[in-house]
Amino acid sequence: MEYKSFLVKYAEIGLKGKNRSYFEDCLVNQIRQNLSMLGEYKVTKEQGRIYVDCPEGYDYDDTVDCLSKIFGIVGFMPVMEIPTTDWDAICKLAVDFVEQSFAEKNFTFKMFCKRGDKNYPMTSPEIACELGGVLLEHFPGLSVDVHNPDKSITVEVRSHAYIYSDGYKGIGGMPVGCNGKAMLLLSGGIDSPVAGYMIAKRGVAIDATYFDAPPYTNERARQKVIDLAKQISKYVGPIKLNIINFTEIQMYIYETCPHEELTILMRRYMMRIAEEIANRSNCLALITGESLGQVASQTMQSLNCTNAVCKMPVYRPLIGFDKSEIVEISQRIGTFETSILPYEDCCTIYVAKHPVTKPILHIIEHSETLLAEKIDDMVARAIDERTIMRIKPE
């Protein structure tokens, strides 16, 4: 017998009072959307749970992989089902289930029962007790532990009978889109994809902006960013990626301003451009991968200077993280391998030998006045001529 459906558990969104059904609908939609790439699954909401019915001939591993990447799911368990509530059939179901679900039959368990059909001739505790007995008899390695079981096994008796165990852990968080949209400044590095992932985890849909600098950066660097966007889109859903040609602006700053301020000035223009695009696409915040003190442009003074150009809130979910912690997440979400490919991004070219680490806002602002002649046109052009790509998970 094979698993024909999954039971999806969610926690946090269940707590949201009157908004509950909105969040639930978001999650159902998210599950539908993600599973639609694998086939025709039926996703239904019923009494505080979500059921996923799998189509004929579905791929079990792909389905598990897909569900384990959807924000808002705390856990999900494969379910076995029989179209009857006949007692002998239920006993056989329980035995089949243990046989197939667990490689080693030497664990402790606790049997649960939920009885939707109140006319059923046995009560829930009776069913649990009897079925536990059947399993003990059939699998001599098993034993019951009602306080601290290795596994819990649940049987539901409604119009049909269902059985499932603990299943898989989900990644938690909240369904993407239930919390609006934000603009991620995506580079080719390790941090920014992780930052996008973390904010998306709180239910936020993501757009992204990448700053390209041909001929100083190459097509592989650009492809790397597209690949990163694709990887995080497995979690966050479709991403609108804006690619800005930043070369002209960078060159102009380089020609006009003190070289040690180059990075900080560049980043201020990146923030301005990202904010402008964010406004146009109804994003309510910017997201960056900055982590306090990691590099010259991420000291408190530097962040103060870059932050000063934005009216929009800037989310920096990694601000208190060590590099090793960020690397750990990037490995888990599958962006690390791509992030460490050795292609230059626009931040690593023309880096001054000694960039300012403690820039002072009014000095930086003064340097920017030197750019007054052309910079507004350049920024407007960079935004108008941006390339927009719609990135979808594959």
């Binding site: 041909p214 001929p215 190459n218 380089y254 020609e255 023309y350 880096v351």
Partner: protein, 398 residues
């Protein structure tokens, strides 16, 4: 946009003749050359025809050709197969400090296995010294491996003299030539020169990728690396890659039909390029015997090098890759010289080995031609260079 492809030392466009024969093999004559039926026999004729063309080009016999998946496999087979076959006679190998990775990485592996390798130095023009070679030969030397043409700078090594010197010292030493950049570009007849092993790649002369061969002089014994069904006299098992082999055969046939003319065409391009570079004070061509300019004409000096590779260093370009991408914006494709920081004599890179100052290691570009390259393409490339380089120099971090 019209493309100007000047990266022919990396790979070349497959010629029409090769494409059409490969299509025929893949669509119709797809048999396994080892099969006994007609389909197999037909497939085998393609393999034999290709070997015939190759043998003709090298003035050797068909049985001396071992078809491989390309140059890298040919080099690996020659070095491992040669070293292990000769192991009982000694464990000393001689090579140069400007070899391609497909030679030096096998050599480093052999060093780890207990072989001792001497790496010959080169002069500013990338040429080894025969004197140093002579002094490096020992009683326990079993293998000498020297490339014919360097892939990065186009230096031509004195293969004929080296082979004679080695075999005069001891006729049993295996003499291997990596001819991947020289085959077709310069005439070479291994039999006459006393070369024992010679590696060739198909895609460097308008054949398909995944094709190549090792010439192994008859009577020379090496140990095969790939064991299996015993194809190719047990020297290289595995069902022959018939489409690639047929394509290689056609490419060789076409190339060698016109070999002299092709060579002159490419020399003309290189010469024209160098004439234009002379007017660009920021450009410094490497390994073109500049020091002989008082006594030798440019045309004479160019003919002391390979016809298709020109390596140029530029002043104040922080990274050759940036220049590469700038040229790319005009549809001009080139390659950047590689710099490597390693201290191992074999892997520090050709540019370091010819004594190029550190400041140029990262600002060197390789232009490489093919018989299709035209003088007007060279002119256009030089026009772009004289326009782009000064612009980039403005933005170099000092």
């Amino acid at each position: 946009m019209k493309e100007i492809y000047l990266d022919n030392a990396a790979t070349t466009r497959v010629c029409e003749e090769a494409v059409s024969i490969m299509e025929q093999v893949m669509r119709e004559d797809f048999g396994n050359p080892s099969s006994l039926h007609r389909k197999g026999f037909v497939a085998d004729t393609y393999v034999r025809e290709a070997k015939k063309q190759i043998a003709k080009s090298l003035k050797c016999e068909e049985k001396e050709i071992i078809l491989t998946s390309g140059g890298t496999e040919a080099n690996n087979l020659a070095l491992f197969g040669g070293a292990y076959a000769k192991k009982r006679s000694g464990n000393h190998i001689i090579s140069t400090s400007v070899e391609h990775a497909s030679v030096y990485n096998p050599l480093i592996f052999l060093e780890e296995q207990g072989f001792e390798v001497t790496y010959l130095s080169v002069d500013a023009n990338g040429r080894i010294s025969l004197e140093e070679l002579k002094n490096s030969l020992r009683k326990d030397t079993i293998l000498v491996s020297i490339m014919a043409v360097n892939n990065e700078i186009g230096a031509v090594e004195p293969i004929a003299e080296a082979a004679k010197l080695v075999h005069d010292f001891n006729a049993n030493i295996l003499f291997h030539v990596d001819a991947i950049q020289s085959y077709g570009k310069l005439p070479i007849a291994p039999g006459k020169l006393g070369i024992d092993l010679l590696s060739v790649s198909g895609h460097k002369l308008h054949g398909p990728k995944g094709s190549g061969f090792l010439y192994k002089r008859d009577k020379v014994r090496i140990i095969p690396e790939i064991l299996g069904g015993g194809q190719q006299n047990n020297m290289r098992s595995g069902t022959e890659n018939v489409p690639a082999i047929a394509g290689l055969g056609e490419a060789v046939r076409v190339y060698f039909q016109n070999q002299k003319q092709y060579m002159e065409q490419m020399y003309a391009c290189k010469e024209a390029f160098l004439r234009r570079l002379a007017d660009m004070p920021f450009a410094h061509p490497n390994a073109v015997f500049s020091e002989l300019s008082d006594t030798h004409s440019l045309s004479e000096r160019v003919r002391m090098t390979a016809p298709h590779v020109l390596c140029v260093s530029f002043d104040s370009i922080s990274k050759s890759e940036v220049l590469l991408h700038s040229l790319e914006e005009y549809g001009i494709y080139v390659s950047s010289g590689s710099a490597c920081s390693s201290n191992h004599p074999a892997i520090s890179g050709t540019l370091k080995a010819i004594g190029l100052p550190d400041c140029y290691l990262g600002s060197t570009i390789r232009f490489s031609f093919c018989p299709e390259t035209t003088l007007s393409e060279i002119e256009e490339t030089c026009d772009r260079l004289s326009e782009i380089v000064p612009k980039l120099q403005k933005y170099t971090v000092k």
